[in-house]
Amino acid sequence: MSLDKRVGAALFEVIDPELGVNIMDLGLIYGIEVDFDDNIRIVMTLTTPGCPMHDSIKSGVLHRVSQVEGVGEIKIDLVWEPAWTPVKMSDRAKEMLGMR
């Protein structure tokens, strides 16, 4: 499995503590980029600007990705645009939130 796929799989284990749903299913991860030296750049957002879980979720991503074998340096870019919308959620997340 490629490194970006393994990083993506690891991020399924980072749970938003308020919603109880992982950040991949919530659609908070906009992109995972890997360069030639296996350094990782993660572009992500949160469900709302000023989310109190900001620091916790960001450091959770950092911790979990650092445990993936073969990962170089990790950079996390938190962005507010494009803003997160419910469309970005997976069916599983929608089900967990009682939307289905």
Binding site: E13, V14, I15, P17, E18, L19, G20, Y30, V43, T45, L46, T47, T48, P49, G50, C51, P52, H54, D55, S56, I57, S59, G60, V61, L62, H63, R64, V65, Q67, D77, L78, V79, W80, E81, P82, W84, T85, P86, M89, K94, L97, G98, M99
Partner: protein
């Protein structure tokens, strides 16, 4: 893409927690004091020293201290700006806690010396206002929430000015218009400070806790302007003694509150989290209680009801079913968040950590909130009907429920 930048919201957990723990103790004390004086409550007499003591432990000791603690936590998060000076915050806590305790006790046992406790409390509150003004001043992009918080802080300042004049009168005397100042003090405190503050934070917390998206907040500015106009009109009516201006004031306050409810209704209609957490639902229920009391106040005003006991119980219902219920519900979200951040934030992504919901016992919360509803509405009904036995029972239940509630919050801190 627009970068998120640094939020730097890391308020030292000890600061909001200090306020919250003091407030929980004050809540229990206030309810015990009121329970011990259930006979005067049953007689509809609110303007006596023991009731002043209970009311100030409740409003200053519990509600104000919780509001301060919550603001130390929420302002950096919601305004994306760090607290101006945290060390100053700890000193402010000590001064305010000493002042509020001394002031409340002196009001009950030696009202003639209450002024001195009041001065310390005022110094503490002024320190808080300075802290918040300095913090908000640093906010780069002001928003609707800023407007409500500035309105609330301004009302708070005017409340303590009026409160100081009242304490001066009780201790030394000589300032006229005592009753008018008292009415202004109550309106500025409960409607100006608390209501505007809860409005402001609700615009952030309700969408956050219900995961709402695509709402407009189109009624926020009309709600703010109308509510402020209502406050000015109502307070003016006390001074010029004009019933038409007074009824207009009550109408504007009701309209402002209604506009706020329209926005909340839209936010909830567009929520993604269909099953809301029970404590949060309790805070939402409180919003409708507030609207109901505003309706009653307007109706009583146009019907010419002037009986002080009726208005006394209506103020009690507003304070308890709107302000205190809102705080009780939100505290069940804020305290688990604070403790979770302290204990588990560094472990996320490393090991399995509990969700915020797992930090509290929702079943117990439902029982407690039900008991709060029964005791508050039961107490108001029996108080209005002057049934001493039921006032005793419901105030006893309220004191007991407050104690259980305080213990349930403390329980979160051992998880």
């Amino acid at each position: 893409m627009m970068a998120g930048g640094s939020l730097n919201s890391d308020t030292n957990i000890k600061l909001p927690l200090a306020f919250i723990l003091y407030a929980l103790a004050a809540l229990v004390i206030s309810q015990i004091v009121l329970f011990l004086n259930n006979d005067v409550l049953a007689a509809g007499q609110f303007r006596i020293p023991d009731i002043w003591m209970g009311a100030h432990f409740l409003l200053l000791g519990y509600a104000v201290m919780i509001a301060m603690g919550a603001m130390y936590q929420l302002v950096p998060v919601a305004f994306l700006t760090p607290i101006w000076n945290q060390t100053f915050g700890f000193i402010q806590f000590l001064v305010t806690a000493i002042g509020v305790t001394a002031f409340s006790i002196l009001l009950g046992v030696m009202p003639e010396f209450a002024l001195y406790g009041g001065i310390v409390a005022i110094i503490g509150i002024m320190m808080f206002i300075i802290q918040m003004v300095k913090t908000i001043f640093k906010q780069k992009k002001k928003n609707t929430m800023t407007l409500f918080v500035i309105g609330a802080i301004t009302s708070f300042f005017l409340t303590i000015v009026a409160g100081f004049l009242l304490a001066w009168n009780v201790s030394i005397g000589s300032i006229g218009s005592h009753g008018t100042i008292l009415s202004s003090h109550i309106v500025l405190g409960v409607s100006g400070w608390f209501t505007l503050l809860i409005f402001g934070f609700s615009y952030k917390l309700v969408p956050m806790f219900s995961l709402s998206h695509g709402y407009s907040m189109k009624w926020a500015k009309p709600a703010f302007i109308t509510y402020i106009a209502g406050l000015i009109s109502l307070i003016s009516s006390f001074w010029i003694e004009n019933t038409l201006v007074q009824s207009t004031g009550w109408f504007l306050l009701l309209a402002g509150f209604f506009f706020f409810v329209l926005d909340i209704r839209e936010i909830l209609a567009k929520r993604l989290k269909k099953k809301l957490d029970k404590p949060f639902s309790f805070s939402v229920l409180a919003i409708f209680n507030g609207l109901g009391v505003h309706m009653l106040a307007f109706m009583f005003s146009v019907s010419g009801i002037r009986e002080s006991a009726v208005w006394g119980w209506l103020i009690f219902l507003y304070v308890m079913s709107w302000i205190i219920f809102s705080i009780l519900g939100y505290l069940y979200k804020i305290v688990p968040f604070l403790w979770w951040t302290h204990k588990y934030a560094d472990k996320i992504g490393k090991e399995k950590v509990p969700t915020l919901k797992e930090m509290i016992n929702e079943k117990h919360a439902v029982i407690l909130f039900t008991l709060f509803v029964i005791s508050v509405f039961g107490l108001t009904g029996s108080g209005l009907l002057y049934i001493e036995f039921f006032v005793f029972i419901f105030q006893g239940l309220l004191a007991f429920t407050s104690l259980l509630y305080a213990l349930s919050i403390i329980q979160v801190l051992i998880k």
